[in-house]
């Protein structure tokens, strides 16, 4: 599930310890941004739907790409089929080991049968965890709905950002955390 050639030229992701550090750092950064955002919103509640939302939105869209999975170019192979331009497709068929994105070849980005099995199993666990998170946040919102609309807005928007962060990053994090050490590429 993990690309053999690291997308980051300054370190290799073949060792599980390195990958676990990457995951830990990723979640610390993401949760720090989320906490900082909540703090800013609490200071300026009127500007909540203004420019304050633009920054975390951009981060949420682009951060999971570092881990991979959702798109090509990260540490984890893309979960779906990589769609290539027609010219790239011909190029890839002629020379599948040629680097296509950074130093990663098209052959490395394709999932084999075992990878697909792993991907589906990891998504099952991630789905189960996300389901409980969504239920917990829904219960919090039900209580907030009784408390008042100002609480509902604050908790509702924060819930969506949290769910988006978890949903778009959790399967990749589980894969990076659990996959054993790989052999160093020659």
């Amino acid at each position: 599930m993990i690309v053999e050639s690291s997308p980051f030229p300054w370190f290799s992701c073949t060792r599980r310890r390195t990958r676990r550090i990457v995951v830990a750092v990723y979640w610390v950064i993401v949760l720090s941004i989320f906490g900082l955002y909540q703090w800013v919103v609490s200071l300026h509640p009127s500007g909540f739907y203004g420019l304050a939302l633009l920054f975390p939105l951009q981060l949420i869209v682009f951060l999971p790409a570092i881990l991979g999975g959702v798109r090509a170019g990260g540490i984890v192979k893309p979960f779906g089929k990589v769609r290539l331009l027609p010219m790239d497709d011909t190029f890839t068929r002629l020379n599948p080991n040629q680097p296509l994105m950074g130093n990663i070849s098209a052959a490395e980005m394709t999932l084999d049968e075992r990878d697909e099995w792993d991907r589906d199993r990891v998504h099952y666990f991630a789905y189960t965890a996300s389901r409980w998170l969504v239920l917990a946040l829904a219960v919090v919102q039900v209580v907030a709905g009784l408390a008042g609309p100002q609480w509902l807005l604050r908790i509702g928007a924060a819930s969506f950002i949290l769910i988006a962060l978890v949903l778009w990053s959790l399967p990749q994090s589980i894969i990076l955390w659990t996959e054993p050490d790989m052999e160093e590429p020659q």
């Binding site: 998504h123 789905y127 219960v139």
Partner: protein, 195 residues
Amino acid sequence: MRAEIAIFGKRIDMSARARRRALVVLMYLAFAVLLAILWNSTHWRATGAWVIWAVIAACRLFIGGYYSSGLVKPFNGKAPQQLWLPPSLQALRLNFYRPVLAADKEAYSNDERELTQRDRAHYTAYQILAAFLLVPMFVASLRTSSGRDLLDRLAIPPAEFCYGLTMIGVVLFFTLPQAILLWTEPDMEPMIEAK
């Protein structure tokens, strides 16, 4: 997956895919009607919890997945809890009581093929829900770019928009993998013997 469901003791044959698809469509229609009624009555404020109870009832009675009853076997493969107390009179009257026998293991444990199907259904559901999250993102980004947007035109307060989407999210999170399995599984051998 089971080929029949038992509601109040009455066994209903669901071996045909068309029937299972009809059940999925009816279930989501019922949820849509429920959400619309609750929106009209209290804007989901005091009645949001009803959606959660409705989801639990749908899983327990019809689609299964998280309970030992319903069409889809429990995803975790655990045997249903057996109480060592005698069943209540109400449970017997409503035909809710179903004792679990050692020979019933097939009714709740998943084989290798079913586990693969379960994982694939969860993967598909996960992709759909991850894409569903783009809706609030899109609406929020519209709101950042202009003062007046879709929500203002529809006269929906942002708080209630978020709340409504969370309720839809709960419905989808608890029913989508089962719906995918029910929709895609081909016709099965009927369990009810023809008279």
